[in-house]
Symmetry: C3
Subunit: 175 residues, 3 copies
């Protein structure tokens, strides 16, 4: 069977598939996607997800390529930085200075809001603004089947809002 | 004809190609690129481009993979956040606080500038600085042929400078 | 030989491989990775690496796709902006305002730190905080074998800490 211009991918049918991965394999290339769920527990929380992302890379059996970590949220970000507890507090303090939770945000004036609102909507204008500065995804190289991170780099899901259910889409691509 | 180590891609020759997409197909994988043009109309303007990006994904017929949205500009950014009009004003107000248009920027002192300048060069040091904080691209997962965005996530071209012609490179990759 | 579901990649065995590139070729697709080393010379330094990244793209012989530039560090960032010397000073001044090197950071109080520390550890809380705002990677489209950058866009390695050895992982993918 040639590959020509016709799709040659297949769905993986092993245990990983049962764990919820969506998988496409074409030739020696793999596209692997999993959605990871987290429940955050504080108004600001850095959750180190490096080990979970590394496990997705391992399950994908990709040796060289990269992994993308994408937050499906506008008030929860993805961060690459050092996991040093005092530093995490410093970064939080900076975010508070740049866009404080106690500031005035038009977004928090629900009486003036138009359009759809979450029934549990609460004052989170600061969280959206902080998210704008940080961003919601990171792409990390994969080499020799592992995350090609520097010595101090760790991957965080950063809750900016309040305790909520959060999802990260983790996609691995490569050979 | 096997694929082995020789290129097996082809140029797509359907209507989409006529619309300006550059396309490579290899096996069941597609690399699809379009450059979208916009004209902005204000010194700060959030333009919701989600539908245009979704249309590119649909034209590409990629089912699983991702789409990259890249601004070809240093004073126009790409943002993923909620399209709530009051919030967009809040985000603009924060950017003004962090790097105000009325501040002093050496970049705006054209008498001291060296190197090439645009004949229409005007004072936009703040726009470059704001761009540094936001970034110029986003990668978004594609699942089941659609943007795999969270409920509140929308994609914006963010003009930081003045009304200008702007281009976004939208690339879709996947199976 | 069909490609089916078996890996069809091979290691490239030309001079580029000797230069340290890790290469996978599948059909007409190429995954190309190089790690570039730099030594920075100042506490804040914008190093224009556009030509080095363009050279990696050229070596990869990828015609259409993208290149990812990833910093393996938590206090050195990757920036896409204009290479105008006065502007680079403006951006530095803004970063100093948002998270000044002379501010108080708990991370800098080594007596309270837990966990592993670099023997050369010095006060760099501001550099981590600035990195949080800027980010550590950029993805840039490749078209017609070249970086598809806008007229004013240049790629920088941005040292935020002190003179150090720095590494960028540059990955090219495409047809």
């Amino acid at each position: 069977m040639g590959n020509g211009t016709n799709p040659a991918f297949r769905l993986l049918d092993d245990l990983d598939e049962h764990a919820g991965a969506r998988v496409r394999r074409v030739g020696g290339l793999t596209l692997w996607a999993e959605t990871l769920a987290f429940h955050t527990s504080a108004a600001r929380e850095f959750i180190d997800v490096t080990d979970q992302v590394a496990a997705v890379v391992q399950r994908s059996r990709v040796s060289q390529g990269w992994v993308s970590v994408f937050s499906k949220h506008t008030t929860a970000a993805v961060v690459l930085n050092e996991n040093e507890p005092l530093l995490l507090q410093d970064m939080g303090a900076m975010l508070d200075r740049l866009s404080t939770a106690t500031g005035i945000y038009q977004h928090n004036d629900l009486s003036r809001r138009t359009g759809e609102m979450d029934p549990n909507e609460c004052a989170n204008g600061h969280a959206h603004c902080q998210h704008l500065l940080i961003g919601g995804s990171e792409n990390i190289p994969v080499a020799d089947g592992r995350l090609d991170l520097g010595r101090w780099q760790r991957i965080f899901l950063l809750e900016l809002d309040r305790p909520r259910d959060r999802r990260l889409v983790v996609q691995v691509f490569g050979a």
